[in-house]
Symmetry: C2
Subunit: 253 residues, 2 copies
């Protein structure tokens, strides 16, 4: 790629996808279908040269997005942006959609420039599973007390060391993150957990949900959250909730 | 199977499924995944002998059900019905669910005994496709006038020769059916068509929806329905709507 920023464009995409059919966002070995692979293939064909699409972060197999953000550089200055979005959508499978495409500053980087992310997790609480929602929710057959979950959720807000809520395989120097908002809403048969933070450790949202569900079903008191944040011990937290209920809703810059 | 009805039970199942991952209801050649195949495999393992599960009718690849009905005979009288439903659900993939299981008279036949069926069709009307709903709706990007569609729908109610709304491959002696109800509802970005009738020809609901959509977008007047019912000519009707929006809601006996 040309080193002169004037001869290229940096394009920011907002992407929605249903992750049910994909092995996550991240490009993997040959023959493994991922969202990044599909987006790169569509973009490359349109701009006429191979592109590398860089996302705000990985999402695991089965995890969805309403507002994943990714960017790529192109030396093709001829394609209008409106045309780009449409052309990409017509070349993508119907479970992936480009919501917007815009030119951004050359130094924009979808991952490093992100300052805030919001995730949503849907728990479907009913004795019988829903075949319609099966890939979009965690089906939980025991009853859950949303009020107790809420009392646990508010204890997560603030700057904390979230090591106890990260999957242990994760080795990072800095496990301190800030949660700005952690809300629990109940509607019909669903309990929806929404979390906004400046960053998330691996499996952190799924571990938060797994822990709040243990609180909601009465195994633990909401104060359990304080213990997990103090001990930083993964063994104090609940199980990792399944990927299906999780969706990356938005990334702010 | 024993010829004596006292030594066997006829079991009626109500089944919900998300058809997105299946090649329809009907068992096909080896290696082709269908809903019937999955239900038979689960039932056979539980009762301990091979069973043949007979459905109220076929649903095509990609078509869903909230209330498909099927029945099978078993000589195993030991398994309690409550246990049967639960055991089947634990042996079925999560996009298929047994809603109920009950013992019915020996002469009950899911297809021949049916007197009424209800289908629902979801059209998602929006400029951008929904990745969340993509396998559950027909995404239609032009705007549709539900009032016009409703005016067309009511003209279908009654006893008519529906040959013009059956896919032409169908060769049947009697193409007369009675539609008891054909309603068009609008909510948020969706237009939902619900049809109840004493029976349906091949692709009939999808052809009805394809025709109502042509009326809704203004290509035809609602009176077009009268012409199709009079001419019995498939060429007078609209295109076959895609399978994804269709769901078999209930079968009455």
């Amino acid at each position: 790629m040309d080193d002169n920023p004037a001869s290229r464009r940096n394009i920011k995409l907002v992407i929605a996808y249903n992750g049910a059919a994909y092995h996550g966002w991240q490009r993997q070995a040959e023959g493994i279908d991922t969202v990044q692979l599909r987006v790169e293939a569509a973009a490359s064909r349109i701009v006429g040269h191979p592109v590398s699409v860089s996302g705000s972060g990985r999402t695991d197999a089965g995890v969805h997005a309403a507002g994943q953000v990714a960017s790529f550089r192109t030396t093709n200055l001829a394609i209008p942006l409106r045309g780009l979005r449409r052309a990409m959508n017509s070349r993508l499978p119907r479970d992936i959609a480009i919501r917007s495409a815009e030119v951004v500053a050359d130094d924009f980087h979808a991952s490093r420039s992100a300052v805030r992310k919001t995730y949503r997790y849907r728990v479907y609480v009913a004795p019988m599973r829903s075949v319609e929602l099966c890939s979009q929710v965690w089906h939980y057959w025991r009853s859950l007390n949303a009020e107790r979950m809420r009392a646990g959720a508010v204890r997560l807000v603030g700057e904390h060391d979230f090591r106890g809520l990260a999957t242990s395989a994760e080795v990072r120097e800095n496990t301190v993150r800030t949660i700005y908002r952690c809300e629990v809403a109940q509607a019909d048969s669903e309990i929806v957990v929404s979390v906004t933070g400046n960053g998330f450790l691996y499996n952190m949202v799924r571990n938060i949900v797994g822990t709040l569900v243990e609180i909601g079903r009465g195994r633990w008191e909401p104060e359990r959250i304080d213990r997990i944040l103090a001990s930083c011990d993964r063994c104090d937290a609940g199980p990792t909730a399944p990927p299906d209920g999780l969706s990356l809703m938005s990334v702010e810059y």
